[in-house]
């Protein structure tokens, strides 16, 4: 339960961990009591698995107070006082201590999946599949490039949602 001021940021953008002190999952300490949203928008939901409209949606740079953790999700309080859940995979493993990085990976392995996809890497097995079947990877590379451009310019998604009044722009 150290106060570390760890800062972590996954390339795909999720949440920056900026300070410390609660326990995640199987007793592993995560250096985080406050997190900062590092993606264009993030829905905070009343239930961990629900698809109901979020209790609130926050945007990039918003600080969230972490209240608890359960089952790979973090319960947070937004600046407007509303409380809800976000996924623990929103935490990046980058720049976390080794133990905390492992914790994040354990919290939900699909987080790694997401990270890998966000990096735009074409997996060796997929390359082999293309090579062995005589197919091109150009289309997939193009899609990955589009994804990367959007990640590098989150303001574009923000503007899209604001002007369309969808996602984080609904409020």
């Amino acid at each position: 339960m150290t106060m570390s001021h760890d800062r972590s940021r996954r390339r795909g953008g999720r949440i920056l961990v900026i300070s410390a002190g609660f326990v995640l999952g199987a007793g592993l300490a995560v250096a985080a009591k406050e997190v900062v949203v590092d993606r264009p928008s993030l829905a905070i939901r009343a239930e961990r698995s629900g698809m109901d409209p979020p209790v609130t949606t926050v945007t990039q740079g918003t600080k969230l107070e972490v209240l608890s953790e359960q089952g790979g999700f973090l319960q947070v309080r937004a600046p407007d006082g509303k409380v809800g859940w976000v996924k623990a995979t929103a935490l990046t493993a980058r720049n976390l201590s080794a133990g905390n990085a492992e914790l994040v990976r354990n919290a939900d392995s699909s987080g790694l999946n997401t990270t890998l996809a966000a990096r735009g890497n074409l997996e060796e097995a997929a390359q082999a599949y293309a090579r062995n079947s005589g197919q091109s990877t150009a289309g997939v590379q193009k899609m990955l490039a589009t994804r990367k451009r959007l990640q590098d310019h989150p303001e574009r998604l923000h503007e899209f949602q604001q002007t369309g009044k969808v996602g984080a722009g609904r409020q």
């Binding site: 795909g12 999720r14 993606r39 264009p40 993030l42 829905a43 239930e47 961990r48 698995s49 629900g50 698809m51 109901d52 409209p53 979020p54 089952g71 790979g72 999700f73 996924k87 995979t89 929103a90 939900d108 392995s109 699909s110 987080g111 790694l112 999946n113 997401t114 890998l116 996809a117 966000a118 997996e123 097995a125 997929a126 082999a128 599949y129 293309a130 079947s133 197919q135 091109s136 990877t137 150009a138 289309g139 997939v140 193009k142 899609m143 990955l144 589009t146 994804r147 959007l150 574009r156 998604l157 899209f160 949602q161 369309g164 009044k165 969808v166 996602g167 984080a168 722009g169 609904r170």
Partner: protein, 319 residues
């Protein structure tokens, strides 16, 4: 041919096949087959985009019935990603990705907006299949979502696109694609992948086998009607949660049916029931409010429509 529901499957990549039957044959992984334009696969499968479980079951994370969750623990996230990418390789290699970067980005932003409103942590990778004028959509593990140009051209507004993409995500959330390839035919591959002793080359080969299976089982054969119904419900709820009018999805299905393009509707009597059920759900739960965003959709897609002369006029368009 698969039903609207069935068509949706591409397994790891699934597809929304409204057109139906186009997916029937094949084996080429297309899901669009040579049939008449059909939404058949339009809603396909995004597969495992991200979600709560290691397979990307978005909807699972929050504690749904454990017995209903795919537990192919032998698949690592990288295996899952490789399968999703391989399915995308198959489809994009055949149909190409639109050279219109603005269009690809537009589709991706709608997909990401939906993902932001889902309970998981999806980061979809999306694109438009440029040379496919049938009505289909596909999705695969790790969040690879593709929609055919033909499907886009028959839409009238952004809420319709959101509905189709959300349907694909529904397959992902419910792990439909994974369940399809976890059939007995692949038991051996899953077991071997779960062994730490296998070589990298063996792993690559096994992932390739599963990718082929995914295309065959999900893209070509499609999902079951129950799975399509389930994905439909997720589509309506997810679109509404993101702030879109969920009626857009219903309008699109009706338009395809009305245009006779959705062969699926004529060959699958249950399709009309699906539309009725969705309309009832929307009304019962008061979900029918939200954005349509017709103008920017048409400003982005219209160029392609004019270029091909495709008709997107019929039907109810929504505004």
């Amino acid at each position: 041919m698969t039903s609207i529901a069935a068509a949706l499957t591409l397994a790891g990549m699934a597809a929304l096949n409204m057109g139906g039957c186009a997916t029937s044959g094949g084996g080429d992984g297309s899901g669009s087959g040579g049939g008449a334009p059909g939404l058949g696969n339009v809603l396909g499968t995004v597969g495992q985009v991200a979600g709560g479980s290691r397979f990307g079951g978005l909807g699972r994370a929050g504690g749904e019935a454990a017995g209903d969750v795919v537990t192919a623990a032998s698949l690592t996230p990288r295996d899952e990603l490789a399968i999703g990418q391989s399915v995308a390789v198959r489809l994009t290699s055949r149909d190409g990705v639109s050279p219109d970067e603005r269009l690809n980005e537009y589709v991706l932003m709608v997909a990401q907006t939906l993902a932001d409103s889902s309970p998981g942590d999806l980061q979809p990778v999306a694109g438009v299949l440029n040379n496919d004028q049938t009505v289909n959509a596909y999705s695969g593990p790790a969040g690879y979502i593709m929609i055919t140009h033909g499907a886009l051209l028959r839409m009238e507004d952004e809420s319709e696109l959101a509905g189709v993409l959300a349907h694909e995500m529904g397959h992902v959330l419910r792990q439909h694609g994974l369940k399809a390839i976890q059939s007995s035919a692949n038991t051996g591959a899953f077991a071997k992948l779960g062994s730490a002793a296998i070589s990298q080359q063996t792993r690559i080969n096994l992932v390739g086998d599963l990718s082929t299976s995914f295309i065959k089982e999900v893209v070509d054969k499609g999902y079951s009607r129950d799975q399509e119904n389930e994905a439909d419900e997720v589509a309506v709820r997810l679109a509404a949660a993101a702030g879109y009018d969920p009626n857009g999805y219903v309008r699109y299905l009706q338009r395809l049916q009305g245009q006779g393009q959705a062969n699926l509707f004529s060959t699958h009597p249950g399709a009309a029931d699906r539309v009725r059920n969705l309309s009832s759900l929307i009304q019962r739960e008061g979900l029918g409010h939200g954005q349509v965003n017709r103008e920017r959709f048409q400003a982005t897609v219209l160029v392609g429509r004019q270029a091909t002369g495709a008709s997107g006029q019929a039907g109810a368009g929504g505004q």
